[in-house]
Amino acid sequence: MKRRIIKNALIDTLPVLSGYMVLGIGFGIVLEKNGYGVLWAFLMSLLIYAGSMQYAGIELLAGVASLPTVALTTLMVNARHLFYGISMIDKYKGAGAKKPYMIFALTDETYSLVCYTKYENEKERHFYCFCVSLFDQCYWVTGSVLGSLLGSALPFDTAGIEFSMTALFVTVFVEQWISAKNHLPAVCGLIASAVCLVIFGKDGFLIPSMIAILVILTLMKRKVQCDE
């Protein structure tokens, strides 16, 4: 049973493997250029483990930002993780000793894979989610260490391969759309974030989007539940 789940987790995380390798290598390269070598890349990917935040972190380190600024920036960039936690509370219930790590490792990409897992059996589901979490972080750490070591000496042109991350999210979106009885939440998320992007610009739209989504979904609670 375990072997089959590990195999499934490996196959399911392949898109993350390609995406994390590219983004991780990119991170390692930029960090190295800013004077922080392979040990720092390893440490950040091991302890922080949040892609976009680590990129932002390079700029904070380079600018010697004050620690309160560092804390506030992290809070703003990563606030969306609150949402992931809320939707995994029930799914991760009773996961035991594996649970703290599964929560720690809940990145965008891991979330996209574990939030719609097909395992009905609780034990199998928890083991699968744990494997996905662990494999994804291994890819990320490996990528950033490689990037730091190789520097910009990579022989091939990988421009555009980071689109695999977008593609992963799109497939999950489509998968959810097909299986959902009610499309209101998806439409709400799409419209709210697109409108916020136009109003607040690409650097500041995430938090207004989350607030808008929360408000709209709360107001629609009765409507959504009646439709089910």
Binding site: A167, A186, I213, L217
Partner: protein, 106 residues
């Protein structure tokens, strides 16, 4: 370079990130999940995935050449292939190859 500063900054980033990830679990803990949170847990994944797609495409400039055509076509291919075959890996490989090709010829 000040190693102590870098280390403390990294620890702060790690702590805040972990705090955000653990917060919902700590607050809701072992109590029975309230109906409202259970509702959010059910509907949020749909809304959040849409937000993540927008987040990935936030840097696309639709007002200047090539008007995000590479992204639009590639996303449509991912959607089309996925509706057709329901195979995640296939959809991602085709969509990404298409994107890598398009940004080189556009």
């Amino acid at each position: 370079m000040n190693d102590t500063y870098a280390l403390s900054a990294i620890l702060v980033m790690a702590a805040v990130t972990a705090l955000l990830r653990f917060f919902p679990f700590l607050v809701m803990g072992n109590k029975k999940t309230p109906g409202y949170v259970e509702y959010l847990g059910k509907v949020l994944p749909y809304a959040v995935m849409a937000m993540l797609v927008v987040y990935c495409l936030k840097g696309v400039d639709f007002t200047h050449m090539p008007f995000g055509i590479c992204e639009i076509i590639s996303v449509l291919i991912v959607v089309g292939v996925h509706v057709w075959k329901r195979n995640t890996l296939l959809s991602i490989i085709l969509g990404t190859s298409c994107y890598m090709l398009l940004i080189r010829i556009m």
